[in-house]
Symmetry: D2
Subunit: 345 residues, 4 copies
């Protein structure tokens, strides 16, 4: 199977290359970039020297249709909305890593992304690609909206308890902490080493565009819509994302019971690992891998559940999950090309 990557100059694109060059059934055939077209990818990313050396080309749906079978869009918000439908029309399998097709309600996209949304029909076509929760739909899909990094960690952390009805409606608070790679390779003062190092910074309070995505998919799990409080923080690290999730309990479960519930819920999900009682994950423990590790704690004093959910934002939060989706769409083993042990230390 041959793949094209649109936005190959960004971190998401580079990570797709890293993972796909080791995938037994996929070959990276075409790299597409708007801003650095004409350059060679190994000039932009010397770590690819001798591994994948290719020019960055312009986007052309006809050329893509001739040369590849699947197209990954690792583009900033607002781009795939324009380009992806042209690929769909030509029968290409499409996986969009951006937020353009995740929100089913176009007005929500407009509100939170401050851009014109994709056409409603196209939004309806896209399957929300969170494999652990949406298995059947993904297996028969040809067009995937790959989840955001915060939604991935949040939803995997919440799903079992939410589905069980164990959480009090309206009580959910998500405290997100992300490494800097989530902001991409764009030169921005706020992402300079000297600004970020030795600092934690809270940002986008009440306005983060992943908020409606989390709420939409929480509703898909629980059957009702609720608002969450979602706060994001920039952490002085490159990769890694943690969501610390707080919720009031609607049922009197103990930590031990939650752990059991979660293990049962994810027993067929090879990439979700539930930590034993009294231990909680660190982001480093999933670095470079497609795992989502989850730790749980019920505070007896406040009857509140705390969920700690970690991923590598570039893998399970982006490129790895996209490939997991491709595997499932193709009927391959879900873990194909993704059996990376986390890099530690």
């Amino acid at each position: 199977m041959k793949a094209g990557i649109v936005g190959a100059n960004g971190y998401g694109g580079a990570e797709l290359i890293r993972l796909l060059t080791n995938h037994p059934s996929v070959q990276v055939e075409m790299l597409i970039s708007h801003t650095t077209q004409g350059e060679k990818v190994e000039t932009l990313y010397p770590h690819l020297s001798g591994i994948l050396e290719k020019p960055l080309e312009a986007f052309d749906a006809d050329v893509l249709a001739e040369r590849v079978d699947v197209v990954f869009f690792a583009t900033p918000a607002g781009v795939s909305k324009e380009l992806l439908p042209k690929c769909l029309k030509r029968g290409l399998t499409c996986i969009d890593l951006s937020g353009d097709f995740r929100l089913k309600d176009p007005s929500e996209y407009e509100t939170w992304y401050h851009k014109a949304p994709a056409a409603a029909g196209q939004l309806a076509d896209a399957v929300y690609g969170l494999p652990e929760l949406n298995r059947r739909q993904i297996e028969s899909a040809h067009f995937i909206a790959n989840p955001g990094c915060y939604p991935t960690a949040s939803l995997l952390g919440l799903a079992p308890a939410l589905k069980d009805g164990a959480l009090e409606k309206g009580s959910i608070i998500i405290d997100g902490k992300s490494g800097v790679s989530g902001s991409g390779r764009k030169a921005a003062t706020g992402n300079l080493f000297s600004e970020v190092n030795e600092s934690v910074k809270a940002y986008k309070l009440g306005t983060h565009q992943h908020t409606p995505e989390i709420e939409q998919e929480m509703a898909a799990i629980s059957g009702y819509r609720q608002s969450i409080t979602f706060t994001t923080h920039l952490i002085p690290m490159t990769r890694g994302l943690m969501c610390t999730i707080y919720a009031n309990l609607a049922k009197g479960y103990s930590t031990r019971e939650f752990i059991e519930m979660y293990r049962h819920f994810y027993k067929k999900s090879p990439f979700v690992r539930i930590r034993p009682l009294g231990t909680w994950p660190a982001t480093k423990e999933v670095a470079g891998s497609n795992y989502c590790d989850i730790g749980l704690h019920v505070d007896g004093r406040t009857r509140r559940l705390t969920i700690v959910s970690v991923i590598d934002n570039v893998v399970k939060g982006a490129a790895g999950q996209a490939i997991q989706n491709l595997n499932m769409m193709q009927g391959w083993e879900e873990t194909t090309g993704l059996r990376y042990t986390p890099i530690y230390p």
Copy 2:
């Protein structure tokens, strides 16, 4: 005025030295250490070469009484409980940076610190030294229990809203994020660079010893006791501490009204800075200084207040606050020797 520092080999002790060597009215006279006694402080801390060169001596209350006027205890839990009363008896002014005298209820100390508490009478003598909230008591004190780092950021972040009755009882969640220096200079695998770097880790869920301290002082502000959910995270940075605090609103204030309330509350507190609407602090913006910076946000969708409160854990969370307390006890200008502009970047 002459000062002795017990625990001068730790980070708290080293920071007291940094700050006191620039204090116009205090002279560091005696450095005391249990484990490194006999060594020179400039061997342990070459950054002090040519600035303060002194041997580390053994603790002896009589010698202290002869040579110094004030004793700072920058010792691990369980130490000052034994040593400090001997200094008090000899009429020395005492400032304890450890947790030994902060909890008024000895059984709480036992529960959370897993050690025998100080005598109840001594606990009653200690004044909780959070200058912004406890000004009058501190001014007439001779024995200060210097607040913990998380309590400092949490209480300064909560006080105005709590005092106003603006927060729904029982709804308060504190998500704490701290740099590694908070764990001190003790060699521990968990604090090795290779373990901490490129990682966020949740730790001590439901068991952090600062929990009862925060609850005790919250009660002193609001007039009633309530339980909080308090979760702490280790961040890959040396200095800096952030508390992101969540609470349901009991009154219908806007962000703007909270900002005004906070500015009014702290108008005579030179070390508390309230951020303008739509901006929130980063820990780097207080690095090396005694400031506590606070940002506020009311989420209209969930009627919840988010408070972002940052300090340098070694300064306002420890040594700086101790000196601020000393200044107030001595009737000096509160900011004496503490007018450090944060180091940026």
Copy 3:
């Protein structure tokens, strides 16, 4: 093929596990640890949960001989010297990642390691396992002394020029820069995050134990012995090692000629990559991989060559190289199980 890892609780051991769990022809069968024996490896290293869950066992050469075919020693200096000969005697293939068998002259080991050396006969048996330079010997070996991290980067950086006679004898200076993981997982004050972060530190000037190893192997390349100046620095990063090497030119080559010479020299070495004119590598560009990237520069003003050589100290500087050696000893493709694209960013 079944493998045992002695010292599985250290970083070298953990990395062998990471790499071997993805190796098509090797299975990790036995984990051995002196200090943490009885514990489960996934407790020490939660990142291995669900990937390799095994108890850490005591060393017993007979048990090893029954259960495994190859033994990796990822032990501190002085350990494999005692244990490895027992495995050799039982016919096991042995790969030693420590320095115990690298120096052919026992008195040098004594001088630089301050320990009693291995028996001279055993030293003679060990093949120095730098695959790019020692291919034939390795292919017929059953006992490998795996090179140190600094020697790997230094020797790969020097070999082509040294062999050519292009460098003035006695003029070679190696300025080494290493991440902290090189010091292992032992709790030591000097490796605490708070000590290392935001700092570069020079250490072991004139006394680093890798000095005689580099000189011994340089002599093997050039045919004569010379002393080098070798200085090492601790860099605030976990993985990564750079040697910046300086030498006076004995021949009038240009940078371009050196690049050509190096490319030719390494044309059959899949893990060595020579950078194009005017560019030099960063350690991040080989992170998590077995590559050694080399950049070159001839300064026309001083007639001096500067060589910049980078590796991931835990991979090409330790566990990856050990597996590369195993591959060659077994007659497998050199890159088997090692085709990792560097993780970037």
Copy 4:
């Protein structure tokens, strides 16, 4: 005394503000910025809130002449060359932190900076402001070319040995290692956290513009000109700079003798500290301070001297040294406003 800062939006400017707000005899009166003019400095740098709140203004030499006594230029190369002469003409004391007036030979500026040089007459007027080496000239100066960060650490490290004639001509190699703040606050991909963290990168081999500055001032010390090999590396830290300097010995001194020579040479220099035998400095040990710490080692095997010299690049390598120069020009105590103990950890 009233000061104006041109380039107040950059890191050099921000550091001048940090240091001058604590200076007893200088008041920051005017902040000038080309790109962010009209904004408030506390918006760009929230850490200055409540400390210095001022608008950034346009450059106007007449206004400056009315309102200030001294002007600091913390501007990119090529700017002060145009603006500073206008201030000189109006009788203002000028301190230039950029490289525009450091090279006495205009053709060297052109060669290394790739820009048109300042007029030769103006170059002659500027006093090279390395206080420890140039005391008398600085005391009577009104126009200072403040040294670069690498030259400061290099020259202080070399001066005593060079002056003594202890070093073999033509043998000097400087391996420089710098934190990222040296590159300023400009958004550039190469300085993004995700690019720099967990990486060491060699850059500008053979072309760094500080090369001729070091050579020029070495010649001023030794009486003859020689070429050096100078290589620079980007280190994943914000502040801190180390030069590891290698030279062949022309005289048979021991390490101990060099230490004595250096201590004698700098005995009246309060900001230079020579480390005891067998210890070498780390950059963290001077962080936030104006110190330059130097460690020495003679390698008996190669008869080579290694000098390890560290500074905080933003303080002794820029703003702190500028103020030290001002102090000396004004006849104030050299350390006025600069008695900062390094921040550790």
